[in-house]
């Protein structure tokens, strides 16, 4: 009987469990969970604040998930090291755990740059985990003024989550635009405008230089008084445990399409990894939930002796604020052509390179965008489709008749 060990208990880990069980019903699975919660998806914490979900509904899987999959979860324990030669991991409780196959799903951690006087701030919170959200929820009152450092996905979702629960929300970011990692200037401006219309205040192109108690002085000299500070500058992949064991690590743990690290029988999946993005043909950290699950599942299958590849990864994001949604996928490499359609309430930007769709940004109208996503993932030559029609509206009608038949007349 094979012994599987998974470090971490996020969606990559859940994918890994399901991947293993799709190929091996027998082996033992042990999950090392630092957090004291059954698997949940971290992005849900903003919806929790918004009261669109609750702690119970946040469970990623049914309550019987671990039992059903015969997985032994050890809550509140952290893995401290891997002995790749001995094929065992060390635990912070001093124990050791042998494995036949190991999957590292350690995720990422908030990255907090050194800021002067940060230690003087009482009410400061990262925004990554349920515990972070619970603490933040406790700290805010209807009178609170909140300063969020970081106008990325986490910072803005936090802002949305707190909206209505506090008096004032200010978001600052060193970048000159919101959501700088996924949106270009024009799209970001539309999103910013919408957020501002909903009462979020932005200080962009500047960040807190120093703190003094409940006051921050910005790089541009402005002073912002606040009651609660949220630190959402960014995240870093948790790579140390693999790096220390001699594994290859860049900005994330380097994995191949089978989600293998360069250590024997050690796999990695999720936000802690860096891997190949086919849209830009580069290796990068793509800390995205769908990819985390798919990596975890791929790793699981492979750990159990199956053969699975996750070889069409692209970055993609679905995010929305106050009813305005935004879908992005792929990349916008240098020199690509862009097709654009825009009005006051929506933007569509499609990026084409070498006769293939490589990326898009859509705001406002989120109808059937997966058809675009599939074009990127499948690397479909646009010569095979009616791109003129596709530009206007994602539709199977613009794809080849053979593909349509395949999709609609058979099982896919």
């Amino acid at each position: 009987m094979k012994r599987y060990v998974i470090i971490g208990n996020g969606t990559a880990a859940a994918g890994c469990i399901e991947g293993i069980r799709s190929a091996d019903a027998e082996g033992s699975i042990t999950v090392i969970s630092a957090e004291n919660y059954p698997v949940y998806c971290r992005p849900l914490i903003s919806y929790y604040l918004e009261k669109k979900t609750d702690l119970r509904r946040m469970h990623y899987r049914a309550d019987s998930f671990y039992a059903d999959n015969h997985a032994d979860v050890r809550y509140g324990i952290q893995a401290t090291g891997i002995d790749a030669a001995a094929k065992e991991i060390m635990l912070d409780n001093g124990g050791k755990l042998p494995y036949d196959a190991l999957c590292v799903c350690t995720g990422s951690a908030p990255f907090i740059p050194p800021m002067q006087g940060l230690e003087t701030v009482q009410n400061k919170f990262p925004f990554m985990t349920i515990d972070d959200a619970l603490a933040l929820e406790k700290a805010v009152t209807p009178e609170s003024r909140v300063l969020i450092i970081g106008a990325g996905l986490i910072g803005l979702k936090c802002a949305e989550g707190l909206h209505g629960r506090v008096q004032q929300i200010t978001v600052c970011d060193l970048a000159p635009r919101v959501l700088s990692s996924i949106l270009d200037d024009k799209c970001a401006a539309m999103m910013q405008k919408h957020l501002e219309a909903n009462g979020i205040r932005f200080l962009l192109g500047t960040s807190a230089q120093s703190f003094s108690g409940n006051s921050a002085v910005m790089q541009n000299g402005e002073t912002v008084d606040f009651d609660v500070l949220v630190l959402a500058v960014g995240v870093r992949a948790n790579t140390a445990i693999v790096k220390n064991a001699g594994g290859s690590v860049g900005r994330g743990i380097l994995v191949d399409d089978a989600c293998r690290t360069n250590l024997p029988d050690v796999y990695a999946a999720g936000d802690c990894t860096e891997y190949h993005d086919i849209s830009s043909d580069s290796v990068k950290v793509m800390a995205l939930m769908p990819n985390a699950y798919m990596q975890g599942h791929t790793a699981g299958v492979n750990m159990a002796g199956g053969a699975a590849l996750f070889d069409n990864a692209i970055p993609m994001n679905s995010i929305g604020f106050f009813g305005l949604h935004c879908h992005t996928a792929g990349s916008q490499p240098e020199g690509c052509e862009m097709y654009e359609e825009a009005d006051d309430s929506h933007i569509k930007r499609l990026f084409v390179r070498d006769g293939r769709l490589v990326g898009f940004m859509l705001i406002g109208h989120m109808h059937r965008t997966g058809i675009y996503t599939a074009l990127i993932r499948n690397r479909t030559p646009l010569s095979e489709v009616d791109f003129a029609r596709l530009k206007i509206e994602p539709q199977l009608a613009a794809l080849s008749a053979e593909y349509r038949d395949h999709v609609l007349k058979g099982a896919v």
């Binding site: 059937r368 965008t369 997966g370 539709q395 009608a397 609609l408 099982a411």
Partner: protein, 147 residues
């Protein structure tokens, strides 16, 4: 398992399937009350090709469903071959819309995702689009699984 398939040769582009779908999933017993004066968000959608050919697209209940794998809330799952959505759990992030290669998951007008569940959860018993298609262009049948 049984799935919904289209026979585009017989699709008239009448869009009745969309209305039957919207009604079936409205939870109401009267179509007029359910649909009159309302924008509909059917789970099946009629497309028109450049050649004038029309056909209805709904969830394929994929063997390897990207929507299920991508759902951040665990609201989508596949049970007995049917991909279901738990509206209680759905937070409306629309990641499913972003990943479904067939454009079969759509937003329901209130910010939540919805998709064809083969009318298993409503009072129809069998897919309303199939029952209501006047020309047999949508069928619900067994055709074997994807390889």
């Amino acid at each position: 398992m049984k799935r919904i398939y289209v026979k585009e040769q017989w699709c008239l582009g009448c869009h009745l399937c969309e209305y039957n779908c919207a009604f079936a999933n409205s939870g109401m017993t009267d179509m007029v009350k359910a649909l009159r004066g309302k924008q509909i968000y059917p789970r099946i959608q009629v497309e028109t090709g450049a050649d004038g050919v029309t056909y209805a697209v709904s969830c394929r209940h994929c063997t390897d469903p990207l929507c299920v794998k991508s759902c951040i809330a665990g609201a989508l799952s596949k049970k007995d071959g049917v991909i279901e959505i738990d509206h209680e759990k759905c937070v409306g992030c629309l990641t499913c819309v972003l990943v479904c290669p067939y454009g079969a998951v759509i937003e329901d007008g209130s910010g939540v995702a919805q998709k064809c569940e083969l009318c298993m959860k409503n009072s129809c018993g069998a897919p309303a689009c199939v029952k209501g298609c006047p020309n047999g262009a949508i069928v619900y049948e067994e055709r074997g699984e994807a390889k």
